[in-house]
Symmetry: C2
Subunit: 496 residues, 2 copies
């Protein structure tokens, strides 16, 4: 054994694991404030918070059953110590908030109210290759109703989503909740005579490209195929031209108002009972919403919403922000989707064998936060740091702590400088780094005279940026006040 190496072990790397991140200060408080606001809306709607354990059995997560010896595709998984007579369970970090809800709805079905409205906010983990803007731990914010077969539950989710967006600071007119229905699409497929599951899946994949390739592109892809922008030829589904038309009718059926859209949709589904039921559901949803005052300026039927149509079983919804922001190259673009959801009726069946209807929505926490920042709804005003009480005389720390204690007792965020006080410049650099609005200074001379110096650092920074050297030297941003007036003087500056 190499003794030299044993004596000086390599130091561990101080690094956030790849694909993970740490949140500091305002990153934490801004997210928290947004989620708190959303929670007040969910609470008002009768939804209860649920916080499941971060860890689930791989078996309960389902999608990611360990096949052979690489169970951790997609999830972070590990095997428990084996028991005396059985192998250890595979455990994993949850990859979303829906799978744990399914487990809880099955496990506690005799204790939970039925229907069960719950919301959940918290991190989820994905074992994926990290990329720019793609992290392996991120927040989700979900609300779901389990056990409610009626489309009133879907309408309620849409209304609640609308309220939540307004509550966090997206004004009416800057967002739209669009609704579509998987059943309508099923009816369209039926009318087209597409009953083969594989062919239906091909059609679904094609309409998913509607946003990108438009009406003519979808028409080509449903037929023989299409020459891609890159020059590659994409094979089509191979339908005859007339056979594909109902899908195009469906995708482009948005009319001037909901009534017109519903009429167009009825035409697209033909005689299909499933399709007509889907159109009726959309009709009911907008009627229920209108009764509560949610008109098409907030929530509207839009058959061009195709995201999620493959996954959900009934109504689907998507919230889009309609204002423009500048992208990284300075070009204006629509902000786009910040939330989506829909009805999925096989949630609990995996566990119990009984079908349980469910519907819900998931808000993209990071995207909505980015939107609020882009709109200047949060983080806009420089939320300044604490008042910093500097230390001129190490032996009089008790005096400085008394000052900071008085400021805090008055509800003012304040700190005493706790580093090495020798170099006063370091203390002012510290105050600057903390974003301190005010520094409090009391040397021996001031202490004897019973006064403190109050330095307005915000004004000081302005003067430093604009003033001449002479003006700067007069230091108008620094005033002397009697010690007893410390709190009042600081408050005057903070209240601007």
């Amino acid at each position: 054994m190499d003794m030299a190496k044993a004596k000086a072990p390599r130091r561990p790397r101080a690094e956030t694991p790849k694909g993970f991140r740490d949140y500091f200060g305002a990153d934490v408080t801004e997210r928290k404030e947004m989620l708190d606001r959303i929670a007040t809306v969910y609470h008002r709607y009768g939804f209860d918070p649920l916080e499941t354990s971060a860890v689930e059995t791989v078996e309960a997560l389902g999608k990611f059953l360990p096949d052979v010896d690489r169970p951790n595709e997609g999830v972070f998984a590990w095997q428990e110590e084996p028991g005396a007579d059985k192998p250890g369970d595979w455990l994993a970090l949850r990859y979303d908030l829906t799978a744990p809800l399914a487990r809880v709805a099955a496990q506690f079905r005799n204790d939970l109210p039925n229907p069960y409205r719950r919301f959940a906010m918290g991190p989820v983990w994905r074992n994926e290759k990290p990329g720019p803007g793609r992290f392996r731990q991120f927040y989700q914010c979900d609300a779901d109703t389990v056990g409610a077969p009626s489309v009133a539950a879907d309408a309620e989710i849409c209304a609640m989503l609308s309220d939540a967006l307004e509550e966090v600071g997206i004004p009416r007119g800057d967002y739209i909740v669009r609704i579509n229905n998987r059943k309508v699409l099923n009816g369209v497929l039926e009318t087209m005579g597409v009953s083969d599951l594989g062919q239906a899946a091909d059609v679904l994949r094609t309409i998913d490209k509607f946003d990108k390739v438009g009406e003519e592109g979808v028409r080509q892809l449903l037929g023989k195929g299409r020459l891609d922008a890159s020059g590659a030829y994409i094979d089509g589904v191979g339908l005859a031209p007339e056979q594909g038309e109902p899908v195009l009718l469906f995708l482009t059926s948005k009319g001037a108002d909901n009534t017109a859209t519903l009429t167009n949709l009825r035409a697209a589904v033909g005689d299909s009972a499933d399709g007509l039921a889907g159109v009726d559901e959309l009709d009911q949803i907008v009627t229920l919403l209108a009764a509560q005052g949610y008109g098409p300026d907030r929530i509207v039927i839009d058959p061009s919403v195709v995201r999620g149509l493959g996954y959900y079983t009934g109504p689907v919804f998507e919230a889009e922000l309609t204002f423009e922001i500048l992208d990284e190259k300075g070009r204006p673009r629509q902000f786009g989707s910040v939330a989506g959801g829909g009805r999925y009726d096989d949630l609990v069946k995996r566990f119990t064998g009984q079908a349980v209807p469910a519907t819900g929505v998931s808000i993209g926490v990071d995207r909505l936060l980015a939107a609020l920042r882009a709109k200047g709804r949060i983080g806009a005003e420089a939320t300044h740091g604490p008042v910093v009480v500097t230390v001129m005389d190490r032996d009089r720390m008790a005096d400085y702590m008394a000052m900071v204690g008085e400021l805090r007792a008055a509800g003012i965020r304040a700190e005493v400088y706790l580093g090495n006080p020798k170099n006063f410049g370091n203390q002012l650099k510290y105050a600057d780094k903390r974003g301190a609005p005010v520094a409090v200074i009391q040397g021996e001379d001031e202490a004897q005279r019973g006064v403190v110096q109050i330095k307005d650092l915000i004004l000081g920074a302005k003067i430093a940026a604009q003033a001449t050297h002479e003006e700067w030297k007069e230091q108008p941003a620094q005033t002397e006040v009697p010690r007893a007036e410390l709190v009042a003087a600081v408050r005057r500056i903070l209240e601007g």
Copy 2:
């Protein structure tokens, strides 16, 4: 292959993994409210929130380096996919909030303010055998100051802890923060002539038993040994009787006030420079605290605090709740410790080689919550559920949703019943399960007359419990009001 089995795969078990738990409704909101209150205090003291990733490299966690092929002793760990030219990193869930702080303080040392005050609240994970009341995921709530060598930082932590306890609802007089100092103990050991590290560790283990075995017990354990309550003989450290006396002087040196305690401690450490420095630090801490108005009714020197003395390097503190509660057998007992902390100066050194002074405190989230519940500070008033609007006529769902919309717009938590409305009894059972204070009822008859029935469920429950059948039949808990007065009538009941 057995085709029958393949056709009917075993259903997954719907179970929270062993040792984990799910939090429902009030469990979530009560904890959140408590932590939010603590955060306002930490914020006022200039502490910034930090939320590190739940996952760390096993290397950064340190204590739990993978030895051979069982790296997951104590932590939940797994190995990353190997790269092209290197083995995969071992990752693990954090087991506390201090190890991630150490990593962050090293990694971001050039960007963070120095000193860095931070607080962190969140779950941590321990791979331990679960037991009663012992979970494998639980919350921690920490505040630490990194980079501040002065005991002013320790004093500040103690004051902040005191404020935090009062903020969450522990009144002054119901708690005490006790302070001790590892340096004083070091001085005591020096005076005793205990310089051998193994023997010092033996003495530390012995004084850890002071709470349990008392003064005479410690005396025996320092000497030849002691006959246990179970009849087993516990070997002693083997010190001569006089040699052990300074430790007993130390443990029992609490005087009538801090001044008396400090005098006793000076006697216990003899000529030891380290010991005298430790006593001076305690002196400074109480002086600094007194300057801010924190007297010995809140924070007091108490050398009998031995918990953590082995781990920390300077001052240690512990917050105890001093009121009695009834244990599971109905016997009164002191509630005991809810928070602890101290100074640990080698936090960042593992990563950078440079010693960085640090001090901090950790609040036992579950214990403090239990204390608040025991004192009736939270969860006492039956925080009732939402108003439930029942569905008498499925076709008039739009009317019921309009009612619930009006109630919510007025800030009243309200739900429409979303289950199958056929059986009205089920709707009332649902309202009961939800803890609804009010049920709203409107059948066809009421709709035609433009009225609604308002059922006061709280009053109804009281009457049902106390009234005769005749009284009950009169249903005074149910009143009819004009539809336009729905919100006002519900509010009257809610405001009692």
